[in-house]
Amino acid sequence: MTAALLTLADSRLPAGGHTHSGGVEQAIAAELLTDPASLALFLRRRLTTSGAVAAGLAAAACRAVDDTDVVAALAALDAEADARTPAPALRAASRQQGRGLVRVGGRAWPHPAWAALPVQPHHPLALGVAAAAGGLAPRDAAAAAAYLSVSGPATAAQRLLAMDPITVAAVTARLGPEVDAVAAAAVDGLPAAADPLLDLLAEVHTVRTDRFFAS
């Protein structure tokens, strides 16, 4: 089962994640993120807010696959995701990545639950279904969601600031225990941690015309 989890968390899985910076591009523009120390702070903040929310939703979606009415269960979680994602730009970014993951996940792990998802589901929902389809447990879905909440943004910072990739890898790896803790805490609930800063960065970013990243 571990291989499926590694596949899901692999940045090379072609699900479109590489075109999203998770707020990093705008945080750099706002000079909030300038070096490895501020990157670590940004990632920790992201992990404990949107990462925790994503982890809870992913675990719940993984569990929903066994529900007697999968369509209704996933639709309810999609609404829960909307409720936890007030910024329209972040909703769009999440649904865009969800669609990308459905495209590759549906081919990688054929399963009836894919058809039960909304057309452009929030990313954590697609992640939960992918985990279930790949034979993984809710805690694995939460782990993948928590990890992805920092790994993609870390790479974006590396590209945009031409940071030392070894330093960035170290920053991400040292967050490992916190990633595990966030995933473990989120697996049985639906955290609703909000971060107005991330919401604001996303909204400012979306009206820029000079951006490398979709979000």
């Binding site: 699900a15 075109t19 910076s21 669609r99 081919r107 054929p110 490398f212 990243f213 979709a214």
Partner: protein
């Protein structure tokens, strides 16, 4: 592992090679400044009246190319989609084509009769090429001003593209490039696949490239009905 996961499931009805119906997707790649956008604009002008067509642009940083196409009134806004490539234009057309597939599918759903989609890459280097999961055929555009050694240097764009276009032949005397050498070197590495030496300045209609595209559209139509 669920019981239905075995290799037999990998016969894929959505594999581009088996994609039935829908428009021909043509990738336009090549180094910065070689004339990809100018070629896309020329093809829109020449083929726009014949085919229901749309364009996806992959600018590195801005919406410059999409704006160019709009400004030149080559295509209405709703037929142009620009994608962000996350600082990595190469990845967006080859390794993770998700953003581009989204754009192509959006255009296809907006214009159900679409016959031709041009996917223009962000300017990249000689190793850039399109995944055949994204496009049906690809054109690689280099230019004479980059030096007549470019075809000899090879790279997947030069050697493996379905059509190699060497643009700006009008500049050859000015930069001391030998078109005969470029032709010969290209033929030597392309295994019989076509190469066109053109000047978009002298022929803004891109007549020969448009003719090649027409042939590919016809071939795809035949393939889809067979």
């Amino acid at each position: 592992m669920p019981p239905d996961h075995n290799l037999d499931d990998y016969v894929d009805p959505y594999d581009p090679g088996h994609r039935h119906g829908g428009p021909l997707r043509v990738g336009l790649g090549g180094p910065v400044g070689s004339g990809k956008t100018a070629l896309a604009a020329a093809l829109c002008r020449t083929l726009g009246a014949e085919y229901d067509l749309a364009v996806v642009t992959n600018d590195i940083y801005t919406t410059e190319d999409a704006d160019f196409l709009r400004r030149n009134a080559v295509l209405p806004d709703d037929r142009i989609e620009a994608v962000q490539t996350g600082c990595c234009p190469h990845t967006a057309i080859r390794d993770d084509i998700t953003a581009n597939l989204d754009a192509v599918e959006l255009l296809e759903s907006r214009h159900p009769g679409l016959e031709l989609v041009l996917v223009e890459s962000g300017g990249d280097n000689l190793t850039a090429s399109f995944s055949y999961g994204l496009v049906d055929v690809q054109v690689f555009v280099v230019d004479v001003a980059g030096g007549d050694k470019v075809p000899r240097k090879g790279g997947p764009g030069v050697t493996a593209s379905d059509l190699l276009v060497v643009n700006k032949t009008d500049l050859a005397p000015l930069v001391g490039a030998d078109l005969g050498v470029m032709r010969r070197d290209a033929d030597a590495v392309r295994g019989g696949k076509p190469t066109l030496l053109i000047s978009l300045r002298e022929d803004p209609a891109a007549t020969e490239v448009a003719a090649w595209v027409r042939g590919e559209v016809r071939a795809r139509a035949l393939q889809s009905t067979s």
